[in-house]
Amino acid sequence: MPITPMEVYKLLPKTNCKKCGEQTCMSFAFKLINREKKLEDCTPLFEEKKYAGQLEDLKRLLQPLEEATETGLIVDEELCSGCGNCVVVCPVHASEDPKGMGSGFGPTIDDPILRIEDGVVKVIEMMKCRRYGKNRVLCVACRENCPSDAIRFLEG
C-alpha cells in the first residue's frame, strides 16, 4: 500500500511550530514522503515524551522509504515471476533499445532501468527512469502491467 501524506500528518504533532523550516505540519508530511525532509527535522517529536508512541508508529510507517529507490520504486522479488512485462512496456527502454526490449526480447544495451535476472526483476539503472530528475513525469507503466504487484511506488 502506498503511504499517503494524510496518514503521516495524523501522526505528526500537528502544532505547526515551524521548527522544521516548513510552514505547516502537512507540508512537512508531503516533503517527508518525497524524501526532501527527514523525520529528525521534526525536533518536538524526539524531544517531547508524549510523542514517543507516535514516533514509533511513524518510523514503522516510513520504513518502506528506506527500501525504495530514488524514484520511489519498490520491487518485491518474492512476488515477481519474471514475465518481463515491466521491461517491455517501459517507454525509456522502447526508445533506447527498440530492437531489444522494445520488441519483447531481453536488453541489448548494458544499462537498462530494469532487467530480469535469475527469473526476477532487478533495478539496474534508476537514473534513467522518467520519474527521476527535474523534468520528471509520474509514469507508472511498469506498475500498471505487473499483475502480481511486485512493483510498487511510494506515492501510489
Partner: protein, 400 residues
C-alpha cells in the same frame, strides 16, 4: 544463444553470464540454475549400478514385455521422439503423452486444418485483438504476453499495447492475466464457455444474446484490426468438454468478417512436436496403439494403467507418479517401470530401472516445436555422453 525449454514458448534470447541467467522467467531460470542438482543416477530396484547395467536391464524388461506402453516424450527433442515412436512400433506398443489430457485436441484440430492458425511471429507484428480464453499465461507461460503477443512493438504494431493491441481475457475467475485488462481491453467472466460462444454467434446474426455488450464491442474491434488471434487453453478445452463444433463454427463465422486465427496457448516444451510426428505417421496425435493401429480414449495412459491393459511401462522425460491421479500411481507401482529421465523424481523412486538422460537445451540439443508449430533448433550448453537420442537408439537396436 541458449534456448529455454521450460515451456512451449521456447524463449530464444536467454543469456547466461557469471553464473546468472538473464531474461528467462522464474521457471526457465530455475532450469538453467539447478541443472546440475538432483540429477538421476542409474539404478535397478533402487540400487545404484553402472550405466551399462541399467541400460541392459531396461532392454531385458522391455524385450520380455508383452503389452508395453510408452509415455512421456514431451520434453525431449523431435529426433529422440522419432526413435521412441519406432520403438513403440517395433514392440506393437501403446504410445501416449500428456497431450491426451492437455491441449492435444486443439493441436489435432489445427493440424487437420479445422481451425485456421498462424505463427507467433505473425501475431507479434500484425495482431490487434488478442484473446486468452481459459488460460492464465502470466502464471503458466510467463513471457507469452511480453515476448510474442500483447506488449512487443513490431511490424504493423509499433505504437505499443495501449493503442495497437486489444486484449480480451476470458476466464472463470479474475486471474493474474485478467488483472492486466485496463484501457483497450476486456475481461469476460464466464460461467459457461458455450454461453459466450452463443453470445458471439447471436451478435453475428444481428441479435442481442448473452454478453451482447462485450461481444458487440469485441467484434467491432476485430473488424477494425483485421488480424486477430485466439489463444485457447485448458479452461476452454474442459469448458467445452469435447463439443468443439460450436467453437469451430464461431471461428469460421468470425473469419467471414475478418481474419481470426487460433493457436493453442501452451504446454510442455515439445508436446506439439510429438503430436506432429504422430500425425504424420499415423493420422492421430496421441493415445495410439500400434497393435490395433488406431487411436482411442481407452488408450490414454492413465486408463491403460488403471485397467491393467499393460504389464510394462517405459516413461521418457516425465514424472507421471507426480502428475497423474493417486489411483493411477497405485496401479503404476504394480507395473514393471523403466524410466529414462535426467532428474530424480517421484517416478524415479518407484521405477524398477532408471536410466539417466540429458536435459534438452542444457546437455543435449535437437529440434523442438513451439506452440505455434515453428520448429526451433536448440543448441546445448555442453554435450552429455548419453542423450535421450543415444539411449533410445540403443534400446531400439537391442530390444527384441
Amino acid at each position: 544463444m541458449p534456448t529455454c525449454t521450460g515451456c512451449s514458448c521456447l524463449c530464444p534470447d536467454i543469456v547466461i553470464k557469471d553464473s546468472k541467467v538473464f531474461n528467462a522467467c522464474r521457471k526457465g531460470s530455475a532450469i538453467f540454475k539447478h541443472c546440475k542438482e538432483n540429477r538421476a543416477e542409474p539404478t535397478i530396484s533402487g540400487e545404484k549400478v553402472d550405466f551399462g547395467k541399467a541400460l541392459e536391464k531396461a532392454v531385458e524388461i522391455i524385450s520380455s514385455s508383452e503389452k508395453l506402453a510408452v509415455y512421456g516424450l514431451d520434453t525431449i527433442p523431435l529426433e529422440a521422439q522419432e526413435i521412441a515412436i519406432k520403438l513403440a512400433e517395433k514392440k506393437k506398443a501403446y504410445i501416449d503423452d500428456s497431450s491426451a489430457f492437455c491441449l492435444g485436441d486443439f493441436v489435432e484440430m489445427v493440424l487437420k486444418g479445422i481451425l485456421p492458425t498462424t505463427t507467433l511471429d505473425e501475431v507479434k507484428s500484425n495482431a490487434y485483438v488478442i484473446f486468452y480464453w481459459g488460460t492464465d499465461p502470466y502464471n503458466s507461460l510467463s513471457r507469452h504476453l511480453s515476448l510474442y503477443t500483447y506488449y512487443p512493438r513490431a511490424g504493423k504494431r509499433q505504437r505499443g499495447y495501449e493503442e495497437d493491441r486489444y486484449l480480451v481475457v476470458v476466464d472463470v475467475r479474475k486471474s493474474h492475466t485478467a488483472k492486466l485488462v485496463k484501457k483497450n481491453a476486456k475481461f469476460i467472466k464466464v460461467d459457461s464457455d458455450e454461453a459466450l460462444i452463443e453470445g458471439f454467434l447471436s451478435t453475428m446474426d444481428g441479435k442481442a444474446g448473452k454478453y451482447y455488450e462485450e461481444t458487440g464491442r469485441i467484434l467491432k474491434e476485430m473488424q477494425r484490426g483485421g488480424f486477430n488471434a485466439i489463444f485457447g487453453g485448458l479452461g476452454l478445452k474442459y469448458g467445452l468438454n469435447g463439443n468443439y463444433e460450436k467453437f469451430v463454427e464461431m471461428v469460421k463465422r468470425m473469419n467471414e468478417l475478418t481474419q481470426v486465427y487460433f493457436i493453442p496457448a501452451g504446454f510442455h516444451a515439445n508436446m506439439r512436436g510429438f503430436n506432429e510426428l504422430m500425425f504424420e505417421k499415423t493420422g492421430f496425435v496421441n493415445r495410439y496403439s500400434f497393435e490395433s493401429k488406431k487411436s482411442s480414449p481407452e488408450y490414454e495412459f492413465s486408463e491403460l494403467v488403471r485397467n491393467d491393459s499393460v504389464d510394462t511401462v517405459l516413461v521418457i522425460g516425465s514424472d507421471p507418479a507426480n502428475s497423474l491421479p493417486f489411483d493411477v500411481l497405485q496401479k503404476l507401482r504394480e507395473k514393471r517401470l523403466v524410466l529414462v529421465d535426467p532428474k530424480k523424481s517421484l517416478t524415479s523412486k518407484i521405477a524398477e530401472v532408471v536410466v539417466p538422460s540429458a536435459i534438452t537445451g542444457i546437455d543435449q540439443g535437437g529440434t523442438m516445436v513451439r506452440s505455434d508449430g515453428v520448429r526451433i533448433e536448440i543448441e546445448p550448453l555442453w554435450e552429455a555422453e548419453w542423450t535421450d537420442e543415444a539411449i533410445l537408439k540403443e534400446l531400439l537396436g537391442e530390444v527384441k
